[in-house]
Each structure stands twice: as C-alpha cells, then as structure tokens.
Symmetry: C2
Subunit: 118 residues, 2 copies
C-alpha cells in the first residue's frame, strides 16, 4: 500500500499548529497567553492549550518562517506578538481547510450520538 490518508500524518497527530494558524488568520496578531485564553474561550473551556506545547510550537513556526514576532512591554511584562508572514498565510489556508475536512470526516464516523451497543 503506497498511498496514504487524505490527511497528513501531522494532522492526525496534532491540531495545535492548525489552531494557531486559524486564530492568527482571524486576529492579525496575538501573543502566546492570549492564544491560550482565546482557545479556552472559543471552546468553552473544553480545550486548554498547555504552555509546554504552545511556546515550542510558536518558536518552531517562527523558525520555519511562517510567523514573525514583535515584542512589546505592557505593565513591565513582555508580550511577544506573533503574526502570519506571507508564507504563513500560504500555509494557513490549506491547513485550515484540511482540519475543516477532518472535522467533517470524523462526523461521518462519529456523527450519530448513540452507539448501538446491545
């Protein structure tokens, strides 16, 4: 079997990068802590991004050229704003589409709520 899922291996494992890309495609620029709060708010507390996941991922996306950063001091605390580069916007579109499709595919399997367990 040479061929794979329509969905990349990364997607099946991880939804963090797509989430970041999705939020940044809606918000222009955001800082790490804000992303954590936004996801919490959007998902009604059901999805809590961990710092140990988020910051390394933001760094990775930046290193790969998908994000740029801008540091701002607010109330003596550092905020590191992230925004999509053009390359990042190019990545965001298929990534978001992919996860949208993935969500729809899950529904094909898990759509009906009540399992038929005898």
């Amino acid at each position: 079997m040479y061929h794979c899922s329509m969905y990349s291996r990364e997607l099946l494992k991880g939804i963090l990068k797509p989430i970041i890309l999705k939020l940044l495609s809606e918000e222009e620029k955001m800082y790490g802590y804000e992303i954590v709060q936004k996801v919490k708010e959007k998902t009604e507390g059901k999805l809590l991004i961990k710092e140990g996941s988020l910051y390394p991922t933001l760094h990775a996306l930046t290193t790969e050229g998908y994000l740029t950063t801008e540091s701002v001091i607010v109330d003596s605390r550092t905020r590191k704003y992230y925004s999509l580069t053009n390359k990042g916007k190019g990545l965001a579109i298929p990534a978001i589409q992919e996860l949208f499709d993935f969500q729809a595919t899950l529904k094909l399997i898990f759509g009906n709520k009540n399992p038929a367990i005898s």
Copy 2:
C-alpha cells in the same frame, strides 16, 4: 496549571482506538481487514487505516481485556474476528462520546470554512 483538557491526551493524539470501538459497537464482530475497508467506505476514502497501526492496536486492546478474538478459516485464509467484551463496551461508550464531543469542539474553532486572511 494542574488541570487538563476535557479531552485526554490520548484522544488528541489518536483516533484509532475510538474508531475501532465505534465500529465494533455497531457491528458485533469484525476482522482487521474488514475494519480497514469499513473506515475507507464510511469516510469515502478520506481516512485509510494502515495495517501497521491497526494490528498492533487490536492486539493492545485485546491484551487490555477490551476485545476477544475468534479465528475462522475462510478460503484457506485466516480471519481473526474481534468483538467487544463487557469491559470493552464500558470503554466504548465514553470513548465514543469523547470523540463526538471532540468533533463538535473542533467545529467551534474550524466551523466557518472561509478564513479571514487579508
């Protein structure tokens, strides 16, 4: 931060076990190859379970007491049927519910198809 997502770490990484549990809660008993085909069929070819993933997972679920097996020879080829134990049914219900919720939560973030990229 002591507390986690509503969703288990396993879920965020893997959807294979829930898929198996879901199918076996609908079908009574299935063999490995049949599961691969069923997922392919249900998802219109978008999700292709790999043998390298499926068989080890079936073995693990069996070892953990969630599945029982029954081997049958059909056309000189072995079919190993798997079915849920009572313990397995107990696992299936929350696992399916969890993935159903997860799917709905993804929709909260990725629900609107068109990203607002300027």
